[in-house]
């Protein structure tokens, strides 16, 4: 489903991001880490929101739970890498249990339920202060290396996760699972009729959409060194991530990477200059996206656009 050119561009993009520590300053490296992290989240969301067509808004719950699971494990003396594994397994198990319950709902009810999960997680984490530190947040042991090394290390870890998420997407896209999920997106009842095990497929997609968010959350916690409930379970994050995937093209293999790149670059270099109007600009982007780019950046017919431009030039030129 994906051209060789697309794959080459993705590889090039990874190389560009991975080498930032060698030629750019710390703030660029930081942006690159965030970009890789959002890409992981957008690729993950794409499994449930893009392939399956379920309007899931629980990304922030998975991310937040992952960051807390990792941070709590680390504060109890678990080595960093192992804490990430614990967070991943925990979030996958959480998503499996939650998916069994929540995926019985459809449409609006599923959307509301998935938003409700984020709120409940945030409220539980902020009131269970004995384990999570409550509203005061939690300090995570920092790596005692040189700042540049730490930045490069976390960048490469996040990029590793991004490559894994991409590989999973490409695999699922060509696999029976992806085919079944696309059937569910088009018509769930019909898919059920012709023998797609819809419950199993949907729960699988939900777990796929969750577990790497958990890992990314845990890695984020180790990198930042401090987490609190409002930061980890942002309702804004839960909408930002689907918007990134939609911007690139939901249900495509490269869409999440393209959308995230466009979004983060715009965020960092354009509207970082308008601090007071941050939200409004994001809102305007959403409105423009819905009306003018319903299929995302990847669905625009660039060839036709170039041809039209050329046509206009040749029409204007003297014969």
């Amino acid at each position: 489903m994906m051209s060789r050119l697309g794959l080459a561009l993705f590889a090039l993009w990874i190389v560009v991001l991975a080498t930032t520590p060698f030629y750019a300053d710390n703030s660029i490296v930081r942006t690159a880490i965030m970009l890789a992290m959002y890409s992981v989240l957008a690729f993950s969301w794409n499994f449930i929101g893009g392939f399956t067509g379920y309007p899931s808004f629980s990304t922030a719950a998975f991310f937040g739970l992952g960051s807390y699971a990792g941070a709590i494990a680390q504060t109890h003396g678990v080595p960093m890498g192992f804490a990430w594994v614990i967070a991943t397994v925990f979030v996958a198990a959480f998503a499996a249990g939650l998916g069994m319950i929540l995926l019985r709902l459809r449409g609006h009810y599923f959307a509301i339920g998935s938003i409700g999960v984020v709120e409940v997680c945030r409220l539980v984490v902020s009131s269970w202060s004995g384990v999570t530190g409550g509203g005061n947040g939690l300090n995570v042991p920092l790596l005692m290396w040189a700042p540049d090394t730490v930045g490069a290390f976390f960048l490469w870890v996040m990029l590793g996760l991004m490559v894994i998420a991409f590989a999973l997407t490409a695999f699922v896209d060509n696999h029976r699972l992806g085919f079944g999920l696309k059937c569910i997106r088009q018509n769930e009842d019909a898919a059920d009729m012709v023998g797609v095990n819809t419950t199993f497929y949907k729960v699988s997609a939900y777990i796929l959409s969750a577990f790497l968010c958990g890992t990314a959350g845990a890695v984020y916690a180790s990198w930042i060194g401090y987490i609190d409930p409002t930061d980890s379970f942002q309702i804004l994050l839960t909408v930002k991530v689907p918007v990134m995937a939609l911007l690139g093209g939901a249900g495509t293999v490269l869409g999440p990477a393209v959308g995230t790149a466009a979004f983060v670059v715009m965020e960092e270099f354009v509207w970082a200059n308008f601090l007071n109007w941050n939200r409004a600009i994001l809102g305007i982007i959403i409105v423009v996206l819905i009306f003018f780019l319903p299929g995302g950046l990847l669905k625009i017919s660039y060839r036709r656009m170039i041809n039209r431009l050329k046509g206009r030039e040749s029409a204007g030129a003297p014969v």
């Binding site: 929101g49 067509g53 309007p55 319950i101 929540l102 019985r104 709902l105 459809r106 449409g107 609006h108 009810y109 959307a111 509301i112 339920g113 938003i115 409700g116 999960v117 709120e119 409940v120 409220l123 539980v124 009131s127 309702i235 909408v239 689907p242 918007v243 939609l246 007071n276 109007w277 941050n278 939200r279 409004a280 994001l282 809102g283 305007i284 982007i285 959403i286 409105v287 996206l289 819905i290 009306f291 319903p294």
Partner: protein, 286 residues
């Protein structure tokens, strides 16, 4: 605190919640759109009331119809210009669009009104009913909330616009064949949703401080009320609102006030799974 006081607080709160959520429920039931703007409409209504009172000394009760009219126009405009274009698209599209519009409105409110908590203080005294202490502002807020909700109920029942809205909710194609302009009804419905939200916000500002930070919380409460009561009907919102008010005030005593919101959301999730049509909901609007 004794039981009578807890129940009285719950009922006062519940009446306000019913008024707050009924517009959201109507929009969801008729347009099949989850209106993420609802929380901001509520706060906008509260702020308009506060600033009219604070800066120009306009009495909040006089301001109530003005707020309603302004919010109706805003809602009508947003629906007619933006949301009608994608109203038949999947949930993800409409929800994301209203969220985007909400971010714009929210940003304008934080810049021009700031996020300082504002409350209208009228000092109307209080009454003591069999040992239950009730400030008069709360009673006034409750009475007006119930009155507005009742007015909407009557409008939906007996006016031609109300009948048209119900018809569109039942079957939009059949309604169009009967000569109803569906897009216009959608815009009016959205306007009514905004009107109810704005007036509910104005009433809230009489009783509790309002701030832009509360938009998400009010939106969450609208979710919970709709799921508890069921969609698209005024009695459903009333039952859901009263239920949520009582749940919050009782769980506030049992588990502590900081957990009352959590309990509300947990009740919502449980109901979503076991009874998605709500307590008095009609089947077929899922």
């Amino acid at each position: 605190m004794d039981l009578g006081q807890v129940l009285a607080n719950g009922i006062v709160l519940g009446a306000l919640y019913a008024c707050l959520a009924v517009g959201f429920s109507l929009v969801w039931g008729v347009l099949n759109v989850i209106n993420m703007l609802h929380g901001s409409f509520i706060i906008l209504g509260g702020y308009l009331t506060f600033f009219a009172w604070h800066l120009f000394g306009v009495h909040p009760l006089l301001m109530l119809p003005v707020v309603g009219a302004l919010l109706f126009c805003l809602g009508y405009f947003l629906q007619a210009v933006f949301i009608n274009k994608v109203v038949t698209a999947p949930v993800l599209t409409t929800l994301t669009l209203t969220f985007g519009l909400d971010m714009i409105l929210y940003n304008f409110m934080t810049v021009y009104f700031s996020a300082t908590p504002r409350q209208v203080t009228l000092d109307l005294g209080s009454i003591d009913l069999f040992g239950i202490y009730l400030p008069n502002e709360r009673l006034l807020g409750m009475a007006l909330a119930l009155l507005l909700t009742g007015l909407l109920f009557v409008t939906m029942r007996s006016s031609s616009i109300g009948r048209a809205i119900v018809a569109v909710r039942m079957d939009r194609f059949a309604a169009a064949l009967m000569g109803i302009k569906v897009n216009r009804i959608y815009a009016i419905t959205f306007g009514i949703g905004a009107l109810m939200a704005g007036t509910a916000g104005a009433l809230f500002a009489l009783v509790y401080p309002v701030t832009t930070n509360l938009t998400g919380i009010f939106l969450g409460k609208a979710f919970v009320v709709c799921v508890i009561g069921g969609l698209g009907s005024v009695p459903g919102a009333l039952v859901g609102g009263l239920a949520l008010g009582l749940i919050e005030s009782i769980s506030g005593v049992v588990f502590g006030p900081q957990h009352s919101l959590t309990v509300g959301f947990v009740v919502m999730l449980v109901l979503l799974v076991f009874r998605p049509t709500g307590l008095v909901g009609v089947k077929g609007y899922e």
